[in-house]
Assembly symmetry: C2
Homo-oligomer: 309 residues x 2
């Protein structure tokens, strides 16, 4: 029996995205509500509730709502904490507010966990018992599938791969966690690494550097850009090596904008893992690109919502 459609919602950096989803299929286009248009969490939530009401006019059979939110989210209590890109958003019981205002069962989860859930349920980690999922973007997020389910930890705070340290003598981290991975391979840090690498070679860095332009340059044969991707892969690889020694997963799934570099990232990453893991841990390990890009949050949150009905 097919489950009824649900609404998947993804709180992104600049907008809240909504779509009607059935299984892994989007039944509607993605509707966007720009977050900066709202001065107060209540107003943004009202706009989301209004959008849900409008969707239900055309899709009266939607049976539940799933919401992916960046940062700290408690799946069990439905609380969300600081949303740095929404003014005044601290400690908002988002799940219960939305559930009450819509009358629909609602689930809420961290966005990286939604990505992991989508990849496990439908995508690159389908069928895995144990998979480590990483998103590479402005920040570095992670989600863990362990023993055939999303692993949340004691306070729904597990999976923070970006906060793991790769160097106890390294750069400052945001929480005193010197050497935090995110401070090496976040979007801006990759650009910073590129600037200093060009300069080390006595070259003026290209203007408007970005992970995309660095990937294009490397593909076109720019030796410095290639060196930068090797460095990024080495940092990421060292962190993932530690993750593999700890969790011995079947698969590592890598998504997010930076992963669009493809083989430029994956080839040296695979090499770093091959050179630093035991055969036992490496031989059956799959290193794969995430299947979903921008829709991962919607698909993961909607997959969790579908389990409510």
């Amino acid at each position: 029996m097919t489950k009824p459609p649900v609404i998947g919602i993804d709180f992104g950096g600049t907008s809240v995205k909504l779509a009607v989803v059935e299984g892994e299929n989007l039944l509607t286009g993605i509707q966007r509500i720009p977050t900066q248009d709202f001065d107060h969490p209540d107003l943004l939530i009202d706009a989301i509730v209004d959008a849900i009401a409008a969707i239900r006019v055309t899709h009266p059979d939607v049976a539940a709502i799933g919401i992916g939110v960046p940062g700290a989210v408690n799946f069990f209590t439905g609380m969300t904490y600081n949303l740095t890109n929404v003014k005044g958003w601290t400690a908002v019981p988002l799940r219960d507010i939305v559930a009450e205002k819509t009358g629909l069962p609602t689930v809420i989860e961290n966005d990286a966990n939604c990505m992991a859930y989508a990849e496990w349920k439908y995508g690159a980690a389908k069928g895995c018992q144990h998979a480590v999922c990483v998103t590479l973007g402005t920040g570095v997020g992670g989600g863990l599938i362990l023993n055939g389910g999303l692993f949340r930890g004691a306070a729904c705070a597990a999976g923070e791969i970006g906060q793991m340290s790769i160097d106890l003598h390294g750069v400052p981290g945001p929480y005193g966690n010197t050497g935090a991975l995110e401070r090496y391979i976040g979007n801006r840090q990759i650009v910073g690494m590129a600037v200093s690498t060009y300069r080390e070679h006595g070259l003026e860095p290209p203007a408007d550097l970005s992970p995309e332009s660095l990937a294009a340059a490397a593909t076109a044969g720019d030796a410095v850009a290639l060196e930068v991707w090797d460095k990024v892969a080495h940092c990421l690889g060292f962190c993932l090596m530690s993750v593999v020694y700890l969790l011995n997963p079947e698969a590592i799934v890598i998504g997010g904008g930076v992963s669009e570099a493809g083989d430029l990232l994956f080839n040296p990453l695979r090499k770093t893992l091959a050179n630093s893991l035991t055969a036992e841990c490496f031989n059956d390990l799959r290193l794969v690109h995430a299947r979903y890009g921008n829709t991962a949050g919607i698909l993961g949150s909607s997959a969790m919502a579908a389990e409510l009905v």
Copy 2:
């Protein structure tokens, strides 16, 4: 209904230890079979089987056997791999051999996993859903309790905390894993760290340095010895910080000989974690000393054996 007693067996560095166990109680003293007395795995296994037979004369009701073995062990297949301290021990199907020769249901598990299991079942992590257990000795071992059970990973290789890297520019690791924790705070490495720390201060290191003598010296007020323990705690703390960001456990249990340093280790370790974790991850985290010392392997393996009957 009380379960029948079982035999717990622990392969240690110099001897194989056996005892009859009921729940968390040893019904016999610990019998030791020195491993170096045997030239071939078959001979050692025969000696173990003979010891089991002798035990069954006085304890005819023993109903199962649990065996803890260092290094790579596959719980599901019953295979053991390299036992570096037993000549010629490679790829031995120990579980099936013992089960066949004794006619008793037999279970086999990695020794650090046995320690974690004992601490979770009866000891310092009792009642925890998520606990990280670490043993500090010649090597650094680990075992994970996740979602209320021992977590083994895809190839029964999870929990290798000692192989995680704390410094991608650090000392060589055994598998290309530069900066492996074990290469900083294994027994011998602590002694090496102490030697160089005394010399940095222009002092001749005491003869016969060991973690025990360093703990005694620190307790007696030796500033250099205190500094060494701070360094050890800092290395361990950085690795555990990463583990906590990844797994968000309720408890970290630390055992093994080096943990006998007690507050000399635990105080700076707690401080490192407090200074590098988010409040979310740190506030409810318990950092505790393992309850069991030498008997952890026997108790953990016997607890698993008891589940076979």
